[in-house]
């Protein structure tokens, strides 16, 4: 990382993000990614940094309802945008149907990719292009799970897509 002397750094810019329904104002340099803004400036560490190069999907969040990778997004370019992260999916203490389904189907092992998987699945279902398990697999291919929980992830998404949210055992 090669940078100009501190005194010469490009000044910070004021950015307003509406994150999980709450307006957050933050002062950022232009190179701060949305991922780093969430994790390092807004203390929302649910969104994970995996590869930081758009290859793993761990940092997937929803921006204005669309799933994107936050590691290849500059926060200053999303001024005024609506951001939804894993922390914003539960309502009134009740887990989102996909969160419940990931639990009941055992859709994770280490859990590191899970926030990205679930945010991506929310986007997938909203997009409405996946009807079959093959289509789910194809349209979830941007989310890598090195524990190899793919069959259970697909089962969890399929269940929610078919509108039968899983019951989580107490």
């Amino acid at each position: 990382m090669q940078q100009r002397p501190q005194a010469g750094l490009t000044p910070k810019l004021q950015v307003t993000l509406r994150v999980n329904g709450v307006e957050r104002r933050v002062s950022l340099r232009p190179w701060t990614t949305l991922l780093d803004a969430l994790r390092e400036y807004l203390d929302l560490t649910g969104t994970k940094k995996g590869c930081d190069h758009g290859q793993c999907g761990a940092c997937t969040v929803l921006v204005d309802g669309r799933r994107i990778v936050s590691c290849l997004t500059l926060a200053v370019m999303k001024d005024g945008a609506e951001i939804t992260t894993i922390e914003g999916l539960a309502t009134d203490g009740e887990l989102h149907p996909l969160q419940k389904a990931f639990i009941s189907h055992d859709g994770f092992q280490c859990g590191y990719c899970t926030p990205g998987q679930i945010c991506s699945a929310v986007g997938l279902i909203d997009e409405g292009h996946a009807k079959t398990a093959d289509e789910i697999r194809e349209l979830m291919s941007g989310n890598v799970c090195r524990c190899g929980c793919y069959p259970n992830i697909v089962a969890a998404i399929e269940e929610v897509m078919q509108g039968a949210p899983a019951e989580v055992a107490p």
Binding site: R4, G57, E138, G142
Partner: protein
């Protein structure tokens, strides 16, 4: 990443005048390739000009019966647009064969054309690369060159263009509309990307102070007989080893017109007009398609790790033409190749 500043362009002429004043600046739209290259210190712009606010987000009908696609239309919106899926399904199929759902939601139409090679040595700043640092040499020629070119390469560079969408746009003979300080111009798709020659650092014929405003599709979309077949190391979310886009027009069972382009094998989508011409008037058959493949791959030459691409391309060409002729295009979700 180096220190850079950030401005938003107000309109197309503002964007053009800003980039004309500052050759070290770069436009940013989806950012999926540029930010990655900046993190790797391969791209080092001192200023980013954000063009995402420009009014280039529409898909419009043209008087010629085609479509004009704004440069900022996201790849996913383009792939799923009803006019594209109905009239240009080859384009939709090629887009959906590339990247991931998240990246397609971010990446712009214009940016897809301008993405840079994924050659390992272009990304690795500790090694020589003529594309990254002109005159430093090519590490891929004697290096790990499994993903590199077998056609159209030069001693200076054996990188390939990574886009899937562009392979379809080559078949469709799209036109790239650009705007610069001297006004607007239209570049035929075949002339947009360059072969490496002695200047592999220059990927396209877009001038440094020009901006892509739109991609125009002519009326003919080969919607009945087409296929996009992409062969890669894993079934999804990987760059092509070889890909083939084919569009045919059939009349009474015979081929009236044929278009074919290869991806993953050259510095630009690879077309051989003479081979397409030879298909005219022929009845589709494996023999005819094999001859086409031979003609296209005449002069192909690989390296230590990618010689297999030549035979792979030969078979992929035959299979894609068979799929197109039969009206059974390759599915991009069920990956069995039939």
């Amino acid at each position: 990443m180096i220190d850079f500043d950030y401005v938003k362009a107000r309109d197309v002429s503002d964007a053009v005048s800003r980039i004309a004043r500052d050759p070290a600046a770069k436009f940013i739209a989806g950012g999926t390739n540029l930010i990655d290259l900046m993190k790797e210190n391969v791209a080092r712009p001192t200023r980013l000009i954000d063009i995402t606010g420009l009014p280039l987000t529409e898909i419009e009908e043209t008087d010629a019966g085609g479509l004009l696609i704004g440069a900022l239309v996201p790849n996913s919106d383009l792939a799923y647009d009803a006019r594209i899926t109905k009239r240009y399904p080859l384009l939709s199929s090629a887009i959906l064969a590339g990247a991931s759902a998240q990246l397609r939601n971010m990446a712009s139409t214009g940016g897809n054309l301008l993405q840079r090679t994924r050659c390992l040595y272009f990304y690795d700043t500790t090694t020589p690369c003529n594309k990254r640092e002109p005159g430093s040499g090519c590490s891929a020629i004697d290096g790990f060159n499994r993903m590199n070119a077998v056609l159209g390469w030069s001693e200076a560079c054996i990188a390939v263009h990574p886009s899937d969408m562009c392979v379809a746009l080559a078949v469709l003979e799209a036109t790239v509309h650009v705007s610069g300080p001297k006004g607007d111009r239209a570049i035929p798709f075949a002339e947009f990307h360059r072969l490496p020659g002695d200047t592999p650092d220059i990927d396209t014929n877009l001038a440094g102070d020009e901006i892509i405003t739109a991609i125009e599709l002519p009326a003919e979309g080969f919607a009945r007989n087409y296929s996009y077949l992409k062969i890669r190391d894993r079934l999804s979310y990987a760059f092509a080893l070889v890909s083939v886009a084919a569009g045919l027009k059939l009349e009474g069972g015979a081929i009236k017109e044929a278009r074919l382009a290869l991806g993953g094998v050259a510095h630009k989508p690879w077309r051989v007009p003479a081979a397409e011409k030879r298909l005219r008037g022929q009845q589709p058959s494996r023999k005819v398609f094999s001859e086409t493949a031979d003609l296209i791959l005449q002069g192909a030459r690989g390296f230590a790790h990618n010689n297999f691409k030549i035979e792979l391309a030969r078979r992929a060409i035959v299979r894609t033409l068979e799929q197109a002729a039969a009206g059974t295009p390759q599915s991009q979700s069920v990956k069995a190749i039939v």
